[in-house]
Symmetry: C2
Subunit: 244 residues, 2 copies
DNA sequence: TAGATTGTTAATCGATTAACAATC
DNA sequence: TAGATTGTTAATCGATTAACAATC
């Protein structure tokens, strides 16, 4: 039980991911499952577009790239939305997952750092259809403050507080250089943002109650390199490869 | 669009990573550890830049955002590179991790799909210093085939085979729309590429022996949204937040 | 020696998977 | 009823963590 006054800069309870937080139902969905729900959602969308109205756990599992036991186990945390002997109604399951994730309505999002990557993110068309709406672009560089990117004016970083308050922004995206990331995160948290997607290649520290997810291009590549190195034996180190 | 015959789920789990593949040493490093090694590497780099030549597991753990028990456990898979009572030599440990990951030399990488995102990736300066070198940019759109992006000419997709063979490319990055991803992946595999970093929002199927990692912006945001939804109770759904 | 910190053990926790009873 | 497929159980596997003996 927490009587959180849902107010500005609201440092939500603690634990966040753990328990503690008031949950609508007592359902405790494992992190690994949470991370896969969006994948199922996307697969269901694709099925709907292809006019498929019913599917089995096996079919959905294949479309999502997992095995069907895992899929059924994952869905079981949400409830019983299938029919034994028949399968799942695609549109119904899609709605239930969207509701569970919380993307039945759009979340307002801001992007800070409008360099090459910020530019690409601002133009990414997938946000809108996936439950997000980019409401503002911010950059510390005054030279950018005139430009319009993806239909939105680039605004000075100083306007952060006002924008967050005005638009009730809870999610912020950091696309700045590594050096700026921590201070941008601090400002975001100060303004009331409680979820951050960090594209800058640095670890940022945030108070409890704030969630951070990190996307790091070179880390992903390095993980691939590790396995690649072990695939092609022989030859010194890299520089080898696909002698087809 | 990819009603693909499921030859394999995404990611290519076990098989590739497990046994089968010839490994230089018998060391079996857990996936979770492999995914963290690049983070340690980055933290060590940052320390070196700040002139720090020695660190304890506690200090490195803090810099990497993990706890020190996990860090020491992770490092123990590589060997014993620390000194009890003293700590780690930053430069020595950095080298050992880089060697383990396989980034003591540069891996040639190609990027397919030079839209907004491909553009941003091509310009990402972090690749070079992290063990990768972008050797070619490809796009199916002939209109782009004149342009130069990040100092490299955009080449027609048809040149894929030649480029991969010529430059011994083992790693490819897909930055195309979702619809094109599967066929691009097929062509990459055909050309001899065995590791793919996929930015397109779709699950791609690849044969065994090929590794795929996926970076999906809206999936990351949806995971944040899920937790965000549970943070601020009250109020309908989204659109809530920092009502100052 | 005394203090510090690693590398490792063992207990715990969480995630995956196969198998199958429930049931449409 | 017979066939199909879910939802759940239980076994297994892998990852995390605290604690501490080894040792600098």
């Amino acid at each position: 039980m927490n009587a959180t006054t849902p107010s500005a800069g609201g440092r939500t309870p603690a634990a966040t991911v753990d328990g503690v937080v008031t949950r609508s139902a007592g359902r405790e969905i494992p992190e690994a499952t949470v991370a896969r729900l969006p994948v199922y959602l996307r697969a269901l969308h694709a099925m709907l577009e292809r006019g498929i109205s019913t599917c089995s756990s096996e079919e959905l599992a294949v479309a999502a790239g997992v095995n069907s036991a895992k899929l059924r186990k994952d869905l079981s945390y949400l409830g019983s939305y299938g029919t034994r002997g028949v399968g799942y109604d695609v549109d119904y399951l899609r709605y239930q997952i969207a509701r569970e994730i919380g993307v039945t309505q759009d979340w307002p999002v801001i992007i800070v750092g409008i360099g090459n990557l910020g530019h690409a993110l601002a133009n990414y068309s997938g946000f809108r259809s996936r439950g997000f709406r980019v409401v503002a672009l911010l950059d510390a560089d005054p030279a950018l403050s005139e430009k319009v990117v993806a239909g939105l004016p680039v605004r000075p970083f100083a306007e952060l507080d006002a924008i967050v308050a005005e638009q009730s922004v809870a999610i912020g995206v950091i696309a700045t250089p590594a050096e700026a990331a921590q201070s941008v995160a601090d400002e975001m948290v100060g303004a009331g943002i409680t979820s951050i997607l960090n594209f800058a290649p640095s670890v940022i520290a945030v108070p409890e109650g704030v969630d951070v997810r990190k996307v790091d291009l070179s880390i992903e590549l390095q993980i691939l390199a590790y396995h690649e190195q072990r695939k092609t034996p022989s030859v010194s180190e890299p520089e080898q490869g696909a002698s087809a």
